[in-house]
Amino acid sequence: MRMSKIVTITADLLPPFILAFGLYVIAHGHLTPGGGFQGGAVTATGLLLMIVAYSYKDIAKAIRQDRFKLYESLGLIIVIGVGYIAFLYGATFFTNWLVNTPLPFGTYVPFGPNPGDLNTGGTMPLYNIFVGVEVFCGLTIVVLYMLSGLEEGEGSS
């Protein structure tokens, strides 16, 4: 079943902006309100709009579900792996081992108001990015699974 022209054209125009906003929320998770979970949910909404506006079959062909499952698992594994790297520095699990070092994301931030620099936060940006990937892929996969069940029911009745 096709949606009306208004919905279809809106779904053609909006997803890039929604995806860009979601990626912004993820990337600036350590500076502005938001973070990995919220940005991942926003990003998933952009894809859900396309899934809702077009028929399930078209979208299921275009999206490779295996890749989404792989990236979801990889996101969580990398989050845990980043936590384990702290052992190399002689610290406990999940210690922020990148902060206040010359490595990327390691710039020192003094106490008080400041304009904000993306190159700060230690492991926070890494956690935000990979948790965002996990949430994005997970929510998309959940909705795809549920829609597949819905269509089977429609076909049989």
Binding site: H30, G83, Y108, Y145
Partner: protein
């Protein structure tokens, strides 16, 4: 009579909540040692301007790790419930139903 018995508990609850809301001094917590520590040291120790993210991902990182694991488990459960049966499994399920029908007779 019945309406009175329904209304009286609601009035009591409302009065209770109003009294509680009036008695508390919102915005001025009793214990502020923890909040002050996070606000004063968050930027220097973690390097983030967003104190909420500092607490969620660093000071209480295990909580966030658990949340992410819960999400993965939820997706796993949905995938198990809504999976497409492969050919062999479908036949087995159909055979099982047949046997159940025979047993019911």
């Amino acid at each position: 009579m019945r309406t009175i018995t329904k209304v009286i508990p609601v009035i009591i609850l409302l009065a209770f909540f109003m009294a509680m809301a009036a008695s508390f001094d919102f915005g001025r917590p009793f214990q502020t040692a923890m909040d002050d520590y996070f606000i004063e040291h968050g930027q220097e120790q973690v390097g983030t301007n967003n104190i909420v993210t500092t607490i969620v991902f660093d000071y209480r990182g295990f909580d966030t790790l658990g949340e992410a694991s819960v999400l993965l488990t939820a997706v796993l459960g949905v995938g198990l419930l809504f999976r497409r049966f492969s050919k062999g499994e479908e036949d087995e399920a159909a055979e099982e139903e047949d046997w159940q029908e025979v047993a019911e007779r």
